[in-house]
Symmetry: C2
Subunit: 144 residues, 2 copies
Amino acid sequence: MSKYDALKIENQICFPLYACSREIIKQYKPFLDEIDLTYTQYIAMMVLWDKKIMNVKAMGEILYLDSGTLTPVLKKLESKGLVTRQRSASDERNLIVTITDMGEALKEKAVTVPTAIAKCSNLEPEEAAMLYRILYKMLGSSKT
Amino acid sequence: MSKYDALKIENQICFPLYACSREIIKQYKPFLDEIDLTYTQYIAMMVLWDKKIMNVKAMGEILYLDSGTLTPVLKKLESKGLVTRQRSASDERNLIVTITDMGEALKEKAVTVPTAIAKCSNLEPEEAAMLYRILYKMLGSSKT
DNA sequence: CATAATTAAATTGAGTTCAATTTAATTATA
DNA sequence: TATAATTAAATTGAACTCAATTTAATTATG
């Protein structure tokens, strides 16, 4: 027991969070490769599969990402033909992202991903539920 | 209830993990700025504050990072005078990273960081303990 | 022993992330 | 209404992450 114990990697809560998130994203890779999306592109598409239309700011609030990250991701999705990007007529500061038919079609393939990933997890349902609850509690209090 | 529900962002377990980890790393920033370390440099230093000497491979196993990430990080720490990097005499494939006196000295300043961060968390101790347990369970089963 | 296989770091390239700044549009106010 | 303040995206630059490849050293095998 030393005054430096708090500095040990095994006593951090952030470290396993960070490592775990990267490890799971790695598990997604083979499945996302099949639909030619990166993880960030995938979660951006998730929002659009659900909402169809959304501006960058609103998307950023949902995904906890700013325009510095989202702009290149959305341009990439546009170049793949999955979304369109256009300024709002009523307020040209806003960029409106809309899913295309090709983007909608990709949803049919993507729907198999969550099932495949679920099989990789070794958590009990109660553990997953607990984890989910705790993470959203943390996220809720970090909202800017 | 649709067959696409599994594709909704609010039904993912990976997403809050990923968002949470980035949000917490953001919280570290002001404290790490004071000791001129990034988060990745900080966790690398954590290993060395504890072990003093370690090769890149062993460090990578602890941190779940490969040489592609660690090499530039360690070169940066070397340029700051916090570590030295030298090939092992007994097996020149191995690069041995050793903490310097300056690196050791930084530990005195760094020791205030975990305390400062702990104050930012809104989790109950039991929640933090549960989170820790679940995350290491997940990490344990993703070990390659 | 010579060659093949393996191993550890480093390198490369694509993509992500974020802080800080810039640009352009809109809203508020003197 | 002109100017100031605010807002939304985009841009820039530094750093991280990872897959894939390369280089060099070591170990295993024919």
